[in-house]
Subunit: 157 residues, 2 copies
């Protein structure tokens, strides 16, 4: 018998995680978004082994999520910065942080508070671009576009 075909559901979540889902990648992105883009800062702040960090950085550069900008000639030194695409991953970081703050922490134990220009603390909320309402699970219907990938809960194709 031929080996298992191994074709999981085609999915943009999976594709995105293939780029940024490895250990430390999103922490690197966090630091870089905070402006801490130097190698040793990344090592200290993420806890990644230097070795692993180097391969993660290469991958994120290749994926167009980070860029490497010189901040000193002689000794050549670089700083990693998010690209536009990298910055567009910030919502992922926000929603992860919000979940952790809600479920893993006491109210007075949040390690970081983010302030929005409006002057309030940022509590991120995901809304529907079309109608502006908060997105709730019960309000969603999934429509797989490929044959054979059914969903049994919210919807049928």
């Amino acid at each position: 018998m031929a080996a298992a075909p191994k074709n999981p559901r085609p999915c943009s979540i999976a594709d995105t995680l293939a780029l940024v889902g490895e250990k430390y990648s999103l922490l690197v992105l966090r630091e870089v978004c905070l402006g801490n883009g130097r190698f040793d800062q990344l090592v200290r702040n993420t806890g990644a082994p230097r070795d692993i960090l180097a391969t993660r950085l290469r991958r994120l550069l290749d994926a167009g999520i980070l860029t490497k900008e010189p901040y000193s000639e002689r000794p050549q030194r670089f700083e990693y910065r998010p690209t536009r695409a990298g910055l567009e991953l910030e919502p992922v970081l926000m929603t992860l942080m919000a979940w952790g703050d809600r479920h893993l922490r006491a109210d007075d134990d949040r390690p970081m508070v983010i302030e929005h220009v409006c002057g309030n603390e940022l509590v991120p909320r995901v809304t529907c671009r079309a109608c502006g309402e908060t997105v709730r699970h019960e309000d969603l219907m999934a429509h797989p576009q490929a044959e054979g990938w059914t969903v049994t809960g919210p919807a049928a194709a």
Copy 2:
């Protein structure tokens, strides 16, 4: 010399990823949110090896993100379902999917379209709960709550 202390930045993103950041975990959550909660469905749809899937499921159960509900006595069969906490991770899945759809796919090649009750296709957007505005990177200021964890870009503590 004593070994490196290895204390990375305290962070809810890291804490959340410690629970759901391993390979396949978020794909399992995706399937479970879609209503495909049985072991063999999860194997097929995520592509995870059966033994890895078993350990991921245990971890997600322990973390209170999934529950195991019987759908048949004799033969005892269970189905995994998201808890409230699990459903609250859906925004993470939405934002990951939106990013992948935007950056890794052509417009006519999205593997899944989600319809909101409002009748439109869901395009998720992260907004500030206080003022309702779309969250943009430039509008944020990060305030680390612990000493020593500076940010050099958006803000100082």
